[in-house]
């Protein structure tokens, strides 16, 4: 998008007030700004405000609480576990996703019969509701009726059926697998888009020079993927940090709070324990973390700098 078409300054002719109004940015931009203000910015304000209010379990505001909600939040025995789990969860899911996507993108960039079908298959988990995908995994992993236990029993890999969602030790790895599963399509397509910008002549030249496939990949392809990889990584960091449906449907953060991330804990605090103030405090913390990711993204991509 390099078009720099700028409207020539309008010739000064006598225009009616309405015409002049219609020519300015206001009528074109205002509806969108109102929507963003009301739907995206107002909740940010509400979050901050709620985090310093004392609110009863039934939702009645009792007064100003100062930093009381934050103090309670940091005293919450489940917070530390959720924070370290969130860190582990985000890093693991994103790292595995990027790693596998590099292979998948390479595969989809090669020419072979049936490639179109493989691309379409990869789109399915992307288009399908994450809730429904996670529900299917939960059913396949069911301790009694799940197909996975049947397969493992038939292969003789386990002695008896395992209740996969019954404890964090067995459910957390599965949560990670499902999160990787739903993150792969987007990531692969971003990297694939990056691969397709590499001009074919570059490879021809490398081939003529007798470079091995491996060398070509690491000295030519990989460096050219830097931008795509960066974009995919940051967007995935945000998405995985915000991931709610998978955990909600498969374990509900349970048993107890053993598979909660800060995102699901925030939700449970508000709508299970009726601790709206504490939950708002946690959401301010979460929001702050995402803000850091977003700022890195904006800075690194030089947003606005390339504008004329």
């Amino acid at each position: 998008m390099t078009t720099n078409t700028v409207a020539p300054p309008s010739r000064r002719r006598k225009k009616s007030l309405i015409q002049r109004f219609l020519a300015g940015p206001l009528p074109w931009i205002t509806p969108m700004l109102i929507l963003i203000l009301a739907i995206v910015l107002w909740p940010v304000y509400e979050m901050g405000r709620t985090s310093v209010l004392e609110i009863s379990g039934s939702g009645v505001t009792k007064g100003f609480a100062g930093l009381e909600n934050y103090r309670e939040l940091f005293d919450n025995p489940n917070l530390l576990g959720a924070i370290s789990r969130t860190f582990f969860w985000v890093v693991t899911v994103v790292a595995i996703t990027i790693f596998i996507s590099l292979f998948l993108a390479q595969l989809l960039n090669a020419k072979f019969p049936g490639r179109r079908f493989v691309r379409y298959a990869l789109i399915v988990p992307w288009a399908a509701s994450v809730i429904m995908t996670a529900t299917s995994f939960r059913w396949m992993l069911d301790g009694y009726y799940g197909i996975l236990n049947r397969i493992l029993l038939d292969l003789g890999l386990v002695e008896e059926a395992i209740d996969w969602m019954g404890s964090a030790e067995t459910s957390l790895p599965w949560l990670i697998i499902v999160a990787v599963f739903v993150s792969l399509p987007f990531t692969t397509f971003v990297i694939l888009a990056g691969l397709q910008t590499v001009p074919g002549e570059v490879y021809e030249a490398a081939k003529v020079d007798g470079a091995s496939a491996r060398k070509t990949y690491f000295s030519i392809t990989f460096p050219l993927l830097k931008t795509s990889l960066f974009i995919a990584t940051v967007i995935n960091l945000i998405n995985v940090f915000n991931q709610f449906p998978i955990i909600w449907v498969m374990t509900g953060g349970g048993p107890g709070y053993t598979t909660d991330t800060t995102t699901t804990l925030m939700y449970k605090l508000a709508f299970r324990s009726q601790e709206i103030g504490q939950s708002a405090a946690l959401s301010v913390v979460n929001f702050g973390i995402i803000l850091i990711f977003v700022l890195i993204y904006i800075r690194a991509t030089g947003f606005g700098k390339k504008e004329d």
Binding site: L22, L107, P125, A127, L184, Y297, T301
Partner: protein, 293 residues
């Protein structure tokens, strides 16, 4: 063997070898490709077989690989087992209305952002990017408190506006890209003929940007169709609840009717997959445009 025959004898088998190697590579790629495809389809294949399992075969311990007969009537029963139809209607209402709102606000904004440079342009682009990056999940408490204050909890309007507000960025990126690619001279010519800016947009620019409009429409519709967290938070009755939330309602119960859950899921998934494939070409540019601009 005579020396003179050697070169000839070397070339043809080695060429055949290279060809074989090429074929072998293609074969390996195809096999890998199909294995990957199968992996990605597995949860949905299982979904399909479960949806077609007769009642009496659903709860086998251990599970059967395939049902002995396919109960196609499950797909009909599911319509009759209320509230699913209601959930589906709610989803369609919310997703369609959100899409209309997004188009109404993003078409003029994208047009102006693509065509004109003005002082606050960068700030506005940044705001749009923020809507894309800050998913509603992280702000759900704020959204909830706002809707309580507005008295909009458990209404279509709340869900329509939240979906529209958070998912408009994609449309703005895609549409402004399309608008910018139309030469300004085309519009100028029409303006000289006496068309106003609005009618130029309506009669010339929009028809030329049809693929962008279709992509925006489909993407917004699907994202709103799949939205879960906000709907879970803001809906408390069957009359408003969309399908994604409705389905989770079935799961917590004592005996989950998995075949109906998955028959419903498939009804929700199949159309969106087809629509998504239709706009595949434009997806990445819309989702990462904030960074490329």
């Amino acid at each position: 063997m005579s020396i003179s025959a050697k070169p000839k004898a070397m070339t043809s088998p080695s060429r055949a070898k290279a060809k074989n190697k090429e074929l072998g590579k293609k074969g390996l790629l195809t096999v890998t490709g199909f294995a990957v495809a199968l992996m990605f389809l597995l949860p949905y294949i299982r979904m399909m077989f479960t949806a077609l399992t007769p009642n009496d075969e659903l709860y086998q311990i251990p599970a059967d690989y395939f049902p002995t007969r396919l109960e196609w009537s499950n797909f009909i029963t599911v319509w009759e087992s209320a509230p699913i139809l209601q959930y589906l209607i709610n989803t369609v209402i919310i997703a369609s209305a959100a899409t209309v709102v997004v188009l109404l606000v993003s078409v003029p904004a994208a047009y102006y952002l693509a065509r004109f440079r003005f002082r606050t342009r960068n700030l506005i682009l940044l705001l749009v990017l923020a809507t894309q990056m800050f998913a509603p999940t992280s702000m759900v408490i704020g959204i909830y408190r706002e809707m309580v204050a507005l008295g909009l909890v458990n209404t279509y309007l709340a869900l329509i506006l939240v979906n529209a507000g958070f998912y408009l960025a994609f449309s703005v990126w895609i549409l402004s890209g399309f608008f910018a690619s139309i030469p300004y001279e085309v519009e100028e010519a029409a303006m000289i003929d006496g068309c106003s800016k609005v009618s130029v947009l309506w009669r010339i620019t929009l028809p030329l940007s049809l693929p962008g409009l279709i992509t925006s429409t489909i993407f917004t519709f699907i994202t709103a169709w799949n939205e879960f967290v906000v709907a879970l938070t803001l809906t408390s009755s069957v009359e408003i609840r969309p399908l994604t939330v409705g389905i989770t309602g079935f799961i917590g119960l004592y005996e989950v009717q998995w075949h109906y859950v998955f028959a419903t899921s498939l009804i929700a998934i199949i159309p969106v997959v087809i629509l998504f494939i239709a706009i595949e070409k434009w997806l990445i540019s819309g989702l990462t445009a904030g960074s490329i601009k």
